[in-house]
């Protein structure tokens, strides 16, 4: 196919491959909702009758709600704290000429690649040596470490991409730095802030490895699931619980996309 546009020509095998890859990504996860509506105790074929019993059973489990509340509490706190910490840090890294910028950024992004296990045990050692009891606070502290890099890597491009001449214009017109930030910079980075809040919340909400070491007597939702996996009779209701978490996570991500779209044109509109 001698094309006038050689790099944009459709490539059917590649498209098929990408489709197959995507199917493979989803296949295992989709069995969770499938079997959550199956009346059998075991997740196996052939499927038995359709049932909502496992969801009903979930409703009667008090500890599930307690765990959900714990996870929400930790997730929201961690999302806000790590985003609030990340905004000035990302601004400094994107805008200011700072000696040692590379190493600082590297250090801040380090938790992305260091195994969670290391942070888990290291924090456990510190906290126990200091005599601090394990609680949702220690889990939250662990989560902030791993959420900060996500927040910074989302916000950094926002600051780098934002139009600096608008800020300069604002400064020239007599706004001080504080108001320039709130009226010019902040609207530009708002989609990034929203995305950061959402992403860090989701990371914390789903996090298990660090929570495993730093949880006290109050389990987060993933900890609850882990603890319940030992009991075969609770397996189907775990499938139901997992299905609900899947739906919520998917909904959150799609909502965040909507938000990002809505906010995208905002700064342009305001100035016109």
């Amino acid at each position: 196919m001698a094309a006038t546009e050689p790099f944009h020509s459709p490539n059917r095998p590649l498209a098929l491959y990408a489709l197959g890859f995507t199917l493979f990504l989803y296949a295992p996860i989709l069995f969770i909702p499938l079997f959550s509506f199956n009346s059998g105790l075991y997740a196996r074929f052939p499927l038995q009758d359709f049932t909502l019993a496992w969801y009903a059973e979930l409703w009667t489990r008090g500890p599930v709600f307690a765990a959900l509340q714990n996870s929400l509490q930790v997730g929201l706190t961690v999302a806000v704290i790590s985003t609030v910490l990340a905004v000035p840090a990302a601004k400094a890294l994107a805008r200011y000429r700072i000696p040692g910028k590379g190493p600082i950024l590297g250090f801040m992004l380090l938790p992305l690649v260091v195994p969670g296990l290391i942070f888990g045990v290291a924090l456990l050692v510190l906290v126990s040596r200091l005599g601090i009891p394990l609680s949702l606070w220690t889990v939250g502290l662990g989560h902030i470490i791993i959420c900060l890099p996500f927040a910074i890597s989302i916000l950094l491009p926002r600051f780098e991409g934002a139009n600096r001449s608008l800020e300069e214009a604002s400064a020239d017109l007599g706004e001080n730095a504080w108001w320039t930030f709130w009226r010019v910079t902040f609207p530009t980075i708002l989609p990034g802030v929203m995305a950061s809040l959402l992403l860090t919340f989701t990371v914390s909400f789903d996090e298990f490895i660090i929570a495993f070491f730093l949880s006290g007597t109050d389990p987060t939702l993933p900890m609850y699931i882990w603890n319940q996996l030992r009991f075969p009779q609770s397996f189907p209701s775990l499938l139901a619980l997992s299905t609900l978490i899947l739906v919520v996570s998917f909904g959150l991500v799609l909502a965040s996309l909507r938000l990002a779209r809505l906010n995208r044109d905002l700064p342009g509109r305001k100035t016109s």
């Binding site: 490539n11 000429r97 700072i98 942070f119 045990v121 290291a122 050692v125 789903d206």
Partner: protein, 307 residues
Amino acid sequence: MTPFDSDLRPAPAGRPSLAVGLRNRVHRSEALRGYLLLSPALAVLGVAIIAPLILLIVMSTWSMSGFDMLMTPGLGNYAIIASDPIYAALLGRSLKIAAIATAATVLLSYPVAYFVAFHVHRHKMLWLILLTLPFWTSYLMRIFAWRVVLGYEGVINSALMSLGLIEAPMQVFLYSQTAVTIALAHAWAAFAILPIYVSLEKIDKSYLEAAADLGDNAARRFWRITLPLSLPGVVAAFFLMFIPTVGDYVTAAMLGGPDGMMVGNLIQAQFGPINDWPMGAALALVMTLAVAVAGLAFLLLTRMIRR
């Protein structure tokens, strides 16, 4: 994209020809302001990363006597790790599983990232969301899903039996290194796709046009332009996935069985049932060191290939 996309391009930054002296004077306070903005985040990370790591290093030199921790420093734990072959074997197995899973994921993800970067035009965002959506679900849940699929009476076995293809459940799936490798490769795919996609997306299309004008065919354009320019993304993908997977213990605990145990499981056990924290600390540090060495070797290798 934002209406300011043009500003993303590396503008021909004004060389400090004008007012160098003034800029130098401002520079000092600018750096100071920058550090000030960075300080909250750095303080938190310092407390939560540096302090615990230092303590971990110190603790690795302690030892256990019964239920008591002896705080006299020594290298006993490291001597045990060096002399008992089980530690090296476990570490080697972890590195192997992580390397295979990472290599498979990077290789299999590259064409997908390429497809989205070059062949998708109108629904790029949709594809990216589709590819990353599964990773917004709990890590634990994705491993859990594999247990449902691979289990002794799981999806594969029971489906094959329902179809009459096998008489009894096959034991090859669950509780093996293969199961761990598959689950790890699957669980981390988004980490591989995104950096590769970003590096492909960044490639200046005019290079490809120039190469085409000069007579390079598609294959040559790929080998001489696209692949080398996307290599940073590939390297990033490798690190983003390899390092955390070496230290993984959840996947191995849920899918590995005794044969699929990784070094992470042993570390976790030292802090749990075995209750030998100093040994756990030493093992965690040895693992970190091994990952760093393996990563460095990989980096040098890619440098050599690129040359």
